[in-house]
């Protein structure tokens, strides 16, 4: 049977009621008509008919009005309620049901609305709880991914039938796979199977015998295996992934590449064997000949001569052999200590922070940072302790820290105002065992582990240095240019550099005594007046002939325009990276404050200055300080060549190029070149700022003239 809505039910009822009423009236009329005596006048009949019809009409009208009232007051509101509830249920909305005021449903709509409200609250609660749980899951997942990514070890998770479920980047590197490992592939595409199968069977046996937690077993086994091509030895550990108490669902492998280490150990073993066994025979010959020469008095002259020859030959052979062995030994770079390539900028910053916070020592990092090879933790311990001892010895709290590269190593120098530290004193400091974090190691042991030594020597400027040569980085860190973008055009528009500048007493001061800010910008393109803008600006301060790396300025700038791909390839700064960064109008006053009253220095300064100048009005600052251009100075010093771009100049002055094409990297390289130029300028009798500006002006004149031809 079809279900009826309340409204149609009501309609049916009232229509039936109306029909019954009409039928009753009709039947009444018919009865009356049939009982009327014959011969009654048609008037009476008409009266009866009219009254009857009137009654019927009234009845139907009353029924219709009753239906209309009931429909409006009950059936329609009920239908609205039903629709409303359906809406709330299906659309999960916060819909409040609106019902006409005149309904007769008493408290029902209010009660339903209250129910909906409560439902809404409950729904929001559930929703929030779900969101929270999802977020925390997401966070845990991210944390796990980060941990996996940061792990030095390769990690692979696999099922019991060796299908790969999860792996980290390191695993891809260690397994030498160009591309993805591919989930659900067999691990044995990459690993030689036997060691894995063996390790897994050991673990599953422990698991079934309940020995995973016992000292007789343990949750992990170690294994040594190889990549499938057999070229790399991998060493690591395997542990089971358990689901509940009863079943194991897979395993985790963590592994490292031991190929290089094993090779180094092998070489060391071989050297050790050769230097013991290999030397026995020549030593024996030497001893025999010497004993005969000394013990036998009746040797003939010829025999004596031949024994002497043995002495000479064998001892020369031994010397040569020793040289060879020790040269090979020097190349063995095994170490049980974790050594890695470190950036001296970070190392020295850590050291300086620690000295300031724990010992109240002001250590200033000067010069350019360099890469070196070592253990940063023990190096900081070593240097911090030495500097604290130096403070007590010389009653000083101010030091400079500098890294100076040579061909064979990188010198890490601590510099102070005072006399040289005698070697004997330094030796005493080195041999004393150190308390605390180093576990009783002496400083000498740290020095030896870096295969080096430490000494004190006088500085050119009458100061003293403590020098610690450290190994060069293993992986040559290249400061290679990222793309083959053409170098910036030299700017022959030198008007900016010709602006009259008040030099004051700086005019006659020596170049080395002045304070400089060496700066560089990266831009969206090469055309400042054609709408190109600055995307980053960086500067570094030079005080008293020292580059103060710690005092630097580095900002990414929102150029408020699209950064073309060609320039992104060049400097690596994308639209995405600048979107939250301040515009140039904000950065320029900051940079102006950083420069203060220093002399500005830049390579091809006219280019960078043009960009600054275009924003002077908008940012309310003027760059009216004196400006030196290392490109012009290079033209002056090396007028035999026409190659004066920064790379060439750096090469000519022996300044190591690192981090080229970042504003900061280029500013550092420029600063390095500028400092070396100061020495050469001095030799050419360019001693003061006035003189340096004068020679620059001459070069400008020449260049302008050339450009006009």
């Amino acid at each position: 049977m079809m279900a009826m809505t309340p409204r149609s039910f009501l309609v049916t009822c009232f229509v039936t009621l109306g029909l019954v009423a009409l039928a009753a009236v009709g039947a009444g009329l018919w009865l009356i008509g049939s009982r009327l005596p014959e011969g009654i006048s048609t008037e009476v009949r008409d009266i009866v008919l009219v009254y009857g019809g009137g009654i019927a009409f009234l009845l139907v009208a009353v029924i219709a009005v009753m239906w209309a009232y009931l429909d409006n007051a009950i059936a329609q509101p009920l239908a609205a309620l039903v629709k409303g509830i359906q809406t709330v249920v299906l659309a999960r909305s916060d819909y409040r049901i609106e019902i006409e005021e005149m309904h007769q449903l008493d408290g029902l709509p209010a009660a339903v609305n209250e129910l909906i409200r409560q439902l809404g609250i409950a729904r929001t609660g559930i929703h929030e709880a779900i969101e929270k749980a999802t977020a925390s899951l997401e966070q845990q997942k991210t944390q796990l991914e980060t941990v996996l990514l940061d792990l030095h070890e390769g990690v692979v998770v696999a099922t019991l039938d060796h299908r790969i479920l999860l792996y980290n980047n390191r695993a891809v590197q260690l397994l030498r796979i160009g591309g993805d490992i591919g989930l659900d592939r067999s691990l044995f595409h990459f690993f030689s199977p036997h060691p894995i199968v063996h390790a897994l069977s050991r673990l599953t046996t422990r698991f079934t015998q309940g020995r995973l937690d016992s000292p007789l077993g343990g949750p992990t086994v170690s294994f040594v295996g190889t990549t499938t091509d057999g070229r790399h030895t991998l060493q690591g550990r395997m542990s089971l992934i358990l689901e509940g108490e009863q079943t194991a669902s897979g395993y985790v492998l963590s592994f490292e590449d031991k190929t290089a280490e094993l090779a180094a150990l092998g070489l060391r073993d071989r050297l050790l064997r050769e230097s013991t066994e290999g030397l026995r025979a020549p030593m024996g010959n030497l001893r025999a000949a010497a004993e005969i020469l000394v013990g036998d008095s009746d040797l003939g002259a010829a025999e004596q001569e031949s024994f002497k020859k043995v002495l000479l030959q064998e001892s020369q052979f031994l010397c040569g052999r020793l040289e060879k062995l020790s040269a090979q030994y020097r190349d063995v770079i095994t170490g049980h200590w974790p050594m890695s390539d470190i950036y001296s900028g970070n190392l020295l910053q850590n050291l300086a922070d620690r000295l300031r916070e724990q010992h109240g020592i002001e250590a200033t990092i000067i010069g350019l940072p360099h890469w070196l090879h070592g253990d940063s933790y023990s190096l900081i311990e070593l240097l911090a302790r030495l500097i604290v001892l130096l403070r007590e010895r010389f009653a000083l709290t101010v030091f400079d820290l500098e890294t100076v590269p040579t061909e064979r190593w990188v010198n890490l120098d601590v510099i102070w105002q005072g006399s040289v530290l005698p070697a004997a004193e330094l030796d005493l400091w080195l041999v004393e065992p150190q308390e605390g974090v180093l576990g009783g190691l002496s400083l000498r042991e740290i020095v030896e582990r870096h295969k080096t030594d430490v000494w004190s020597l006088p500085d050119r400027s009458g100061r003293a240095r403590l020098r610690l040569p450290l190994p060069l980085p293993v992986q040559r860190v290249s400061g290679q240019v990222r793309s083959s973008m053409p170098p910036r055009p030299e700017f022959y528009d030198f008007e900016l550099l010709r602006r009259p500048v008040e030099l004051g007493d700086r005019a006659t001061r020596t170049l080395k005594s002045l304070t400089y800010v060496v700066f560089d910008t990266e831009t969206t393109g090469l055309n400042p007046s054609g709408g190109d803008e600055i995307v980053s600006i960086a500067g570094v301060r030079i005080v008293n002939g020292r580059i103060l790396t710690g005092e630097s300025f580095e900002r990414i700038v929102n150029p408020r325009r699209h950064i073309p791909v060609e320039s992104v390839r060049f400097h690596g700064i994308t639209d995405e990276m600048v979107k939250d960064k301040p515009p140039i109008a904000v950065v320029l006053p900051q940079f102006h404050a950083f420069v203060a009253d220093a002399v500005l220095v830049a390579h091809n300064a006219a280019f960078d200055l043009r960009f600054l100048q275009l924003h002077e009005a908008a940012s309310g600052v003027n760059f009216d300080m004196p400006v030196l251009d290392t490109m012009l100075l290079s033209c002056f010093l090396h007028d035999y060549t026409s190659r004066h771009n920064l790379d060439e100049v750096a090469k000519r002055f022996g300044v190591p190029v690192q981090g080229r094409h970042t504003a900061f990297g280029d500013a550092l390289v420029t600063a390095g070149c500028f400092l070396r130029m100061l020495d050469v300028l001095e030799a050419q009798a360019v001693l003061t700022l006035e003189q340096a500006l004068a020679v620059s002006a001459k070069v400008m004149q020449l260049k302008t003239r050339q450009a006009n031809f």
Binding site: L318, E323, S326, P422, A423, D427, W455, L457, R467
Partner: protein, 125 residues
């Protein structure tokens, strides 16, 4: 007057050879067996050249070298360090602390004698 050489070395076997070779080459030879003795010998009469072993008792060779260089009166003394430390960094340290030359053991006695002769014949005093 013959040029004078101070041999600072504590191993008697090599002292024997060095003393023999230098005397035979016509130099005036004195021997010191540790760092203190070496400085005392320089104090009493500055030699023209010192053959200085690095690993000697009391003050080591680096210390002796640095102490001699700290005194401007002894600036003319030519110092050759003799050592079993063969690393580049050891040579660098020796030169940094004031040695003029650095020879690692085992060395050829003939080469060393030639070197000493050449230096002392070229020196002006």
């Amino acid at each position: 007057m013959a040029k004078s050489i101070l041999v600072v070395e504590d191993e008697p076997n090599i002292v024997l050879s060095l003393q023999f070779l230098m005397k035979k080459a016509g130099f005036d030879v004195r021997v010191a067996r540790d760092g203190d003795e070496a400085l005392a010998a320089v104090q009493s009469q500055a030699p023209d050249l010192i053959l200085l072993d690095v690993m000697i008792p009391k003050r080591d060779g680096y210390d002796v070298c640095q102490t001699i260089r700290a005194n401007p009166d002894w600036g003319g003394i030519y110092i050759i360090m003799l050592t079993a430390k063969g690393r580049e960094v050891d040579r660098e340290k020796g030169i940094a602390l004031g040695a003029n030359d650095y020879v690692t053991k085992p060395f050829s006695t003939r080469d060393l004698t030639d070197k000493v002769k050449q230096i002392l014949e070229n020196s002006t005093h």
